[in-house]
Every structure is written in structure tokens, then in C-alpha cells.
């Protein structure tokens, strides 16, 4: 258990924490936009942390560079996907949840 593994374990545990918050957010938030808000951000950060942790664990080679490549791709792709879904929902007339309605 050298120092690289310790850092990798720390990064991956942090990533799993954000995966958990994303999952709880998608479960408990009242409205579509808030759920999108939860998964869009926390999943992107979680994938970033997990992949950087694995790249650190894997040392300096081509595979860890590919891991970082996937991390950068997800870093760009996930928010774009989130934006496109939100725009589609907004254009189809999905109303955001407001306090006055206090619908469940």
C-alpha cells in the first residue's frame, strides 16, 4: 500500500461519495429540473474523481493517459447532454416546481 495507492483510494472514495449524493438527489428532489441538477453535476465530478484516482493507481503509462482522456470527454459530454435534455424539457413546457404549488 504505497503512497500512490493511498491517493487513489482517497480519490475513489471521494468519487463514490459524490455518486451517492447524485443517487440520493435523483431520488428525493421534487421536480425534473432539480433532479437534472443533481445528476448532471455530481455524476460528472464523481466520474472525474474516480478516473483520476484509477489513473494515479495505474501509474504512468498509455492506459492511464486513456483514462484521463475518458475523464476529459465525460467532463465535456455530460454537461452538454444535461443542457440538451433541459432545453428539450423547457421547450416542451415542463414547469419548474414552485413553493406555492407545494405539490408532492
Amino acid at each position: 500500500m504505497n503512497i500512490a495507492d493511498a491517493i487513489a483510494v482517497f480519490f475513489i472514495c471521494l468519487g463514490c461519495f459524490f455518486f451517492m449524493t447524485g443517487a440520493i438527489g435523483i431520488l428525493r428532489f421534487p421536480d425534473f429540473y432539480t433532479r437534472m441538477h443533481a445528476t448532471g453535476k455530481s455524476d460528472t465530478l464523481a466520474v472525474l474523481l474516480c478516473l483520476c484516482g484509477l489513473a494515479i493507481h495505474h501509474g504512468l503509462c498509455l492506459d492511464s493517459f486513456k483514462l484521463l482522456l475518458i475523464a476529459v470527454f465525460v467532463f465535456f459530454a455530460n454537461p452538454t447532454g444535461t443542457h440538451s435534455i433541459c432545453r428539450a424539457a423547457f421547450r416542451c413546457g415542463v414547469k419548474p416546481w414552485t413553493k406555492k404549488e407545494n405539490t408532492p
Binding site: 500500500m1 495507492d5 483510494v9 475513489i12 468519487g15 463514490c16 455518486f19 451517492m20 447524485g22 443517487a23 440520493i24 435523483i26 431520488l27 425534473f32 433532479r35 437534472m36 445528476t39 455524476d43 460528472t44 464523481a46 466520474v47 474516480c50 478516473l51 484509477l54 493507481h57 495505474h58 498509455l62 492506459d63 486513456k66 483514462l67 482522456l69 475518458i70 470527454f73 465525460v74 459530454a77 455530460n78 452538454t80 447532454g81 444535461t82 440538451s84 435534455i85 432545453r87 428539450a88 424539457a89 421547450r91 416542451c92 413546457g93 415542463v94
Partner: protein, 88 residues
């Protein structure tokens, strides 16, 4: 280190369950797309962890790279379809 990766894999599989619940119950169709997108990103990390468990990191990284791209394209295509369809 392998048992740690296995533990993380199992934890991520447990984290898929709330998203699966949202995918099944989700009132509107768009909620289901959010849930499927969330499951996709979790599956991506599980795939790479499996690569580390099976000692075939190079192969699994290529598979997960394609999976990330397909997940992204699927999200875009579904959003574009619902934007033209005009009803949720």
C-alpha cells in the same frame, strides 16, 4: 487493492438502485431519461473497475470509451427527439 475495487464495484451497483427506481416510477418521460443517463455514467466507472479486476485494463478502457460516447449520443438523440415531438 483488488478487494477494494470489488467493494467499490458493489457500492456503485447499489447506487444504481435509486436511479433504477426513478427510471421505473419517474412521472414524466424526461425523468426516465435522466435516470438512464445517471445509470450510464455509473456503469462506465463499474466497467473500468472490472477492467482492473480482470487485469485487462487496456481492453476495458477502450470498451468504456465507446460506452461513454454512446451514452452521450443516446442522451442527445433522445433530447432532440422529444424536442421535436413536443409532448412530455
Amino acid at each position: 487493492m483488488n478487494s477494494f475495487f470489488l467493494g467499490i464495484c458493489l457500492f456503485l451497483c447499489l447506487m444504481i438502485l435509486p436511479c433504477l427506481y426513478r427510471a421505473i416510477v419517474g412521472p414524466t418521460v424526461i425523468d426516465r431519461m435522466v435516470a438512464v443517463g445517471a445509470i450510464g455514467t455509473k456503469t462506465l466507472v463499474i466497467l473500468i473497475l472490472m477492467g482492473f479486476l480482470y487485469e485487462r485494463v487496456a481492453m476495458f478502457i477502450d470498451i468504456s470509451m465507446v460506452y461513454a460516447i454512446l451514452n452521450f449520443l443516446g442522451t442527445l438523440a433522445a433530447a432532440r427527439y422529444f424536442e421535436m415531438e413536443g409532448e412530455i
